[in-house]
């Protein structure tokens, strides 16, 4: 019988297999980076949601909070300095997270081979959440572009007033389909976070029988908290519970 001597070009790394080079281009290294940036992004969405909930305290509180973010550590650093630092940090995390996802997805597609099983694969462990990580991620990315255009730049909101965060959120969410986009995106995010929050432990090699049970529940609670906290705002606006005058 002949044996496979050719090295498959499945994951061929380019020549520079130096120390960090080989680590960061290996699958495990990339999963590691994906997990670390994932933790950073998880922390960010959590803080972002808690900040958002200030909307229930009224216009003054929310606008004041937004102003505080812009002047964080001022005058030690220039105005909006810390804000921009966060933005660049987030951008870097997003790029690393998505870049690893895309590279790994392409490698996996090649590794899987061209001939698929004819009988429907009977998955026992893979579920909706982990099989939609990639496309869920794409939906979240598209939403993010819209979200920044809508509430940061005010490009899609005709009533946008620079700095009047409360006013902008309410006028934006009063349009039913905008509210719907936000809620749908939160559902996609919840699925992504549900698998992600569990998965980071595995990728970082921190699986441990002592807290494995707890990991699942933590992921559920995390995903639900984000879903309920964030989507409550467009829903409240739609039902008239939050209004511009409030």
């Amino acid at each position: 019988m002949t044996t496979t001597t050719r090295r498959l070009d499945v994951n061929r790394r380019s020549g520079w297999r130096s120390w960090l080079g080989s680590f960061f281009t290996s699958d495990i290294g990339m999963k590691w980076m994906m997990a670390l940036t994932g933790i950073g992004l998880l922390a960010y969405v959590l803080v972002h949601m808690i900040g958002n909930l200030k909307i229930y305290l009224g216009a003054e509180d929310l606008d004041h909070y937004a102003e505080a973010l812009r002047t964080l550590l001022y005058p030690i650093v220039p105005e909006t300095g810390v804000l921009w630092m966060f933005r660049f940090g987030l951008l870097a995390m997003f790029i690393i997270h998505m870049w690893s996802a895309i590279v790994l997805a392409l490698r996996n597609r090649r590794a899987r081979g061209t001939i698929r099983y004819t009988a429907k694969r009977q998955y026992l462990a893979a579920n909706y959440a982990n099989r939609t990580m990639l496309w869920g991620g794409v939906i979240i990315f598209l939403f993010l572009v819209y979200h920044i255009a809508d509430l940061t730049l005010g490009m899609t909101n005709p009533d946008f007033v620079e700095g009047a965060v409360y006013h902008n959120v309410i006028t934006s969410f009063q349009v039913w389909w905008v509210a719907l986009i936000y809620v749908v995106a939160q559902i996609a995010l919840a699925f992504h976070v549900y698998h992600g929050a569990w998965s980071v432990f595995q990728s970082l090699g921190m699986s441990n029988p002592r807290y494995d049970e707890w990991r699942r529940w933590m992921a559920v609670v995390f995903a639900l908290a984000l879903l309920i906290g964030n989507s409550s705002i467009p829903i409240a606006v739609q039902f008239g519970l939050l209004q511009v005058s409030g």
């Binding site: 960090l20 290996s26 699958d27 996996n108 004819t118 009988a119």
Partner: protein
């Protein structure tokens, strides 16, 4: 019982394959899955047709030679069982059973249901061994091993290298196999001298052939030895740790 089989037939790796349908009549419920295939093959042989090629050796679930995809389940519908230990009582009279070879870019179909799993050999060649002399049985027994470590290593050592994990993985990843081998050796004192070099070499060889782990956990449910994906987490950690090790200081050359 009577069953209908839809079997993947392919004369050699260069030719196109396709499904052929066979009837297996009067099969005993107590027959094993392979005994049923043997019966079909006997009939094919008698009528001058080419019998269905499939791999099997020990037929008691310990060698890892066997393994086919049965109705979309690696090794069939019964969990924790290799194909050779599957019995026809798991099927119903009148069932149509679809039988396919393992599918992955790294696994070439040699013939019908037989695939070339030599990329697994390449992973083992990269470091799946211990080259220190641990002496004869007497001396080896003198090396004290904490019982939990011995147990954990033994759980990983249950891997028979059948490649069901790769077949089950939507990404065609061999992480469960490689991690089981790494954990098997790396948990024992005899495995320590070469531990990090082994992990790096085996992981990088694995990545040359197979996909990456997306933590689906499918491999764990397909594994005839029910090896836990905990070993994959262990491998991930060992691989990262290896990046920071000073190999020279540990007497392991760079």
């Amino acid at each position: 019982m009577d069953v209908t089989l839809r079997v993947w037939r392919q004369p050699d790796s260069a030719s196109e394959g396709g499904f052929a349908t066979y009837e297996a009549k009067g099969v005993s419920e107590d027959a094993s899955f392979f005994e049923m295939l043997d019966m079909v093959n006997e009939r094919l042989n008698d009528s001058g047709e080419e019998p269905i090629a499939f791999d099997s050796d020990c037929r008691e679930g310990i060698c890892g030679t066997c393994g086919v995809m049965i109705d979309g389940h690696p090794h069939g519908p019964q969990r924790g069982t290799a194909t050779c230990q599957l019995h026809m009582r798991k099927f119903k009279d009148g069932d149509t059973i679809v039988i396919e070879p393992w599918r992955a870019e790294a696994f070439r179909v040699v013939r019908d249901l037989v695939v070339d799993r030599s990329p697994f050999d390449k992973i083992i060649q990269a470091g799946g061994y211990i080259s220190v002399n641990v002496g004869a049985a007497q001396d080896a027994n003198e090396t004290l091993i904490p019982r939990p470590a011995a147990e954990a290593s033994m759980d990983a050592a249950a891997c028979i290298g059948c490649a069901a994990c790769v077949a089950a993985c939507p990404n065609g990843a061999a992480n469960l196999f490689t991690a089981a081998k790494i954990a098997h050796l790396g948990l024992l004192p005899q495995g320590q001298p070469e531990r990090y070099l082994r992990t790096v070499a085996m992981v990088e060889t694995m990545e040359d052939y197979f996909g990456s782990c997306r933590n689906y956990g499918e491999c764990e449910t397909a594994c005839p030895k029910s090896i836990s994906i905990d070993v994959i987490a262990w491998m991930n950690r060992d691989y990262v740790a290896a990046q920071w090790k000073n190999f020279r200081k540990q007497g392991q050359q760079v």
